[in-house]
Structure formats: C-alpha cells, structure tokens
Symmetry: C2
Amino acid sequence: MRNLRLMPATALFPTTVKRALKSEALTALEVEAIDLFISFVRLFGLPKSIGEIYGLLFVSPKPVPMDAMMERLSMSKGAASQGLKLLRSFGAVKTAYVAGDRRDHYTADFELSRFATMFIKHELQPHLDSGLARLDRMERLMEKLPRDQKSATAPRMAKLRHWQEKGQMMMPLIAKFLVS
Amino acid sequence: MRNLRLMPATALFPTTVKRALKSEALTALEVEAIDLFISFVRLFGLPKSIGEIYGLLFVSPKPVPMDAMMERLSMSKGAASQGLKLLRSFGAVKTAYVAGDRRDHYTADFELSRFATMFIKHELQPHLDSGLARLDRMERLMEKLPRDQKSATAPRMAKLRHWQEKGQMMMPLIAKFLVS
DNA sequence: TAAGTTGTTCATTTTTATTTGACTAAATCG
DNA sequence: CGATTTAGTCAAATAAAAATGAACAACTTA
C-alpha cells in the first residue's frame, strides 16, 4: 500500500533528508477534534472525510501536507484531495508555505461560520431562488382550479409565499449575525 | 400488485359502496408541490418520500388516506407508513376523522416551522449538548500538552467555546423567530 | 531529459440510506 | 366466529453517497 523504499546501507550521508517513514497514531486530542468535526460537518450534509480533515487540522500546531493526512487518517488520496479542494473552496482551510518542501501544506481557518455561509450560499439560496419561480407557476395553476378547490388552496399558497419571503429576508440577517 | 376483485354482475345494489378502483394521475399543481417539498425536506436531511407525502397533502383540499397516497405516489406501504409516522411525530401532519370510513385520513399542518424546530430539537441540540462535555474533555487533554503546543492550541479551544456558547444562545432566539 | 514527486480525476468498489413487500397484529364487519 | 380491512414491522433488495486507487498530468531535480 505504502511504497517504502529501504535506504541502501551505504547511504550514510544522504544528500536529501528523508521524511519520517511511519506516521504517528492519532493523539486523544486529535481523536476528539476529529469526532467533533465529523458530527459538525454532518449537520451541513458533508461527508465524514471532510470532518476528519478539518478536525485534524484544527488541532495541528503546524501546517500539514496531504500525504501526512492520508497516512494519519488512513484515508485515500482521492478523498484527501477532494476534501481539501472543497474545504479550500469555501475558505475553511488555507495553504501555507513551508521552506524546502515542495508539497502544499494546509492549516485550518478557524472561522467556523464559513461552513454556515457555504451552506447558505450553496444549499439555501439556490432553493429560495428557484422557489420563487415555482410559486409563480403554482399560483398560475391554482387559477385554473374549480372555484371550491381554488378557495381551499389559496391560503396555502399564501403561507408558502410568506415563508419564502421570510426566508429571503432572513438570509442577510443570519449572514451578518454569523460573521460577528 | 393491487388485488382488485371484479364485482359480480348480479351485485347491482351492493350493500357497501366500493371506493374508486383507479387512482388519478398527479395534477400539475401536485407535481409542483411535491417537487418543492422534496427539495425542502432534503434541506433537513430527510428522505424524498417524506417530501412526497407532505407535498401531496399540502395541496390536497381534503384529507387523504394512506392507501390513496401509496397509489398516487406509487410508493410502498412501508415508506408511506414510516413517512407518516415521522411527519406525525413532529406535528407536520394530522389525522382527520372522515365519517363512514375506517381508515385514518391525513392532512398537512401548514406550519412549516415544524420542520425547522424538529431539526433543531433532534439534530442541533443533541450536538450542542454533547459538544459541551467534549470541550471539557479536550481542555483537560490540552493541559497535558508540552508548553509550546499548549499555547498554540489554547486560542483554538477558546474559539470552539465561543461558537458553542453562541450556538446555545442562538437556539432559543431562532426558535422564537420561527414561530412568529 | 529521465526519474521521481506531488496532486487531480474518475471509473469502480464499498458503505450507508432508503424503499420494498411479505408477514403479522389488531380492529371491524357480517 | 371467520373473513376482510387497515396499518405496522422488518429482512431483503435497491438506490444513493462516499471512498478507493489506478491512470495521468504537471512539476522538480539530479
């Protein structure tokens, strides 16, 4: 699985310093943090692997490269790469430069509100937006209903409109509140 | 699948009125409502079938029995029964008495906030509660860290505490806002 | 420039969530 | 009471989501 190469016995003074070959087991603190963030990200419908990565970075005193994460979390390269891509996309992790290392190193951004604003932007807002067009469509369909059905349906559509508007209004407020 | 029995030709005056044997196809309005609520309930991590049931009831002028839902939504008995059980559990649907019919009939409760309060109660609150104990645990683990790591970790734990408290405070406010 | 390193993509596999429908219990009917 | 209707349960089937790892591209470096 890992492709370890044994260093030839003659290489007493290797020109490049080899990195640690074995990854440390997770500390109790790391396990707690990972656990915490797994359930946190689940709240936003994100996969476990996202929580694992973020949790590990959250308590890491120094930037962590992807291969170290993979090893310590026993996670595939694909999951790590995709997870970091997503976390980067909404600013939950940042890359950090580490001198003399070609690999990208990652740190957590501690503004947890990023998860919420990401959720609002990618899940809630689109839903609210398409909902507006749908409501118009539904009201037009309602018009064609026989009188009695129409009168029964009208107040329900009003309720929907009400919630739609409430949602639209809430979004900026919540966003503002979260950033504070 | 359905077990239809043909009525014997002699039964011109049946003692009990047989119900309609064929279910009507969904109307355009029903399809819109179902679509709307499927994506709405997904927001709360609920399965599609929940959205289908609630969407259908939302635009039904009269109470609907379970077998009618099953037919019109082409949904299994299990999904219908379990879905209604869940929706009932947080008050999103109510049962209505219909004279001369032994079956339970269901209507939608139009207070959409029930979905949100259900989510808060069953997903958010438990997470916040267990989070409190976890934070204590993490802080105790942090104490045992070497000086330098500890000083790097401390502000992160403070951030976590901050969000935890913010969350605890927000819950009642959100709840109040939703009901209004 | 050849060999090695790092990171991405995506078809396949694995895992998890949801749905199905046979079975059953309970209630009502004749 | 026996037949029928209604609705709940749960093991098995199916569908959906997530993880894996091989293949590849883009760099680096020796």
